[in-house]
Symmetry: C2
Subunit: 140 residues, 2 copies
């Protein structure tokens, strides 16, 4: 469990400050309990940096107006598309272009870093119990 957020939004609320400490992706992932439940761990410009533990299959969805970057920290991820798939191993990244249907699949647990526009809903608006609001992703 993360005790506090060690980053500040560009338009940051009063009282927050930029901590003089790096954020470790693997350590942040260790703090996650649930699969498919991204947590915001930073922000760069209009993009959130998130971590997520995934296992199994997510859900087919797309983001009409935003690209989504997947970076594998540990484990393996397959991004399924209608016209093929991309296999990612640790240190690999892939940017799913806006508007492209995709389905993330991980046979075993996989730790991810994600870069997404602050407005992106991770299920692309697909109504599923797995959809976490941005407030939930911030609260962890």
């Amino acid at each position: 469990m993360i005790k506090e957020y060690r980053w500040i939004a560009a338009d940051g609320a009063a009282g927050r400050r930029q901590e003089m400490e790096a954020i470790n992706l693997r350590r942040e992932l260790e703090g996650l309990k649930d699969h498919w439940s991204p947590r915001v761990v930073g922000r760069v410009n209009d993009q959130y940096i998130k971590v997520a533990k995934v296992k199994g299959e997510f859900t087919w969805h797309k983001h009409n107006d935003e690209d989504e970057m997947f970076l594998v920290v540990y484990g393996k991820l397959v991004l399924q598309f209608e016209d093929g798939e991309v296999r990612l191993e640790p240190g690999d990244f892939y940017v799913v272009p806006r508007g492209k249907l995709h389905n993330p699949v991980a046979a075993e647990e996989c730790g991810l870093a994600l870069i997404e526009t602050v407005t992106t809903l991770h299920t692309g608006g697909v109504d599923t119990p797995r959809a976490k609001s941005i407030a939930e992703q911030l609260a962890g």
Copy 2:
């Protein structure tokens, strides 16, 4: 040397397409010859994903309107600020907020991934022989 760019800009030029292949940060870094010479390896929304090999000291600079994310792939990086410093090891990231003077230092060679707004000049407009234009960063 990278033979081609395996990504497409959001407003991508005709004829380019999204390759169905992940991009490995370490492999991209291996393709770099010079220190302090970032190369664009991807784009997510209005942000470039870059890799850079660094060693020694860069130059004090700031980006007035853009945050800059540093993620260490290998080696160690110190981000010096006027009011302190942040030490990064592999898997660590830090977002330098817009407007904050900083100086990246690496005692030994360090491999970085960077996330920066497509308009960011990596020296923050400081006139130094180390400044590489975006065209140079794209061409590698």
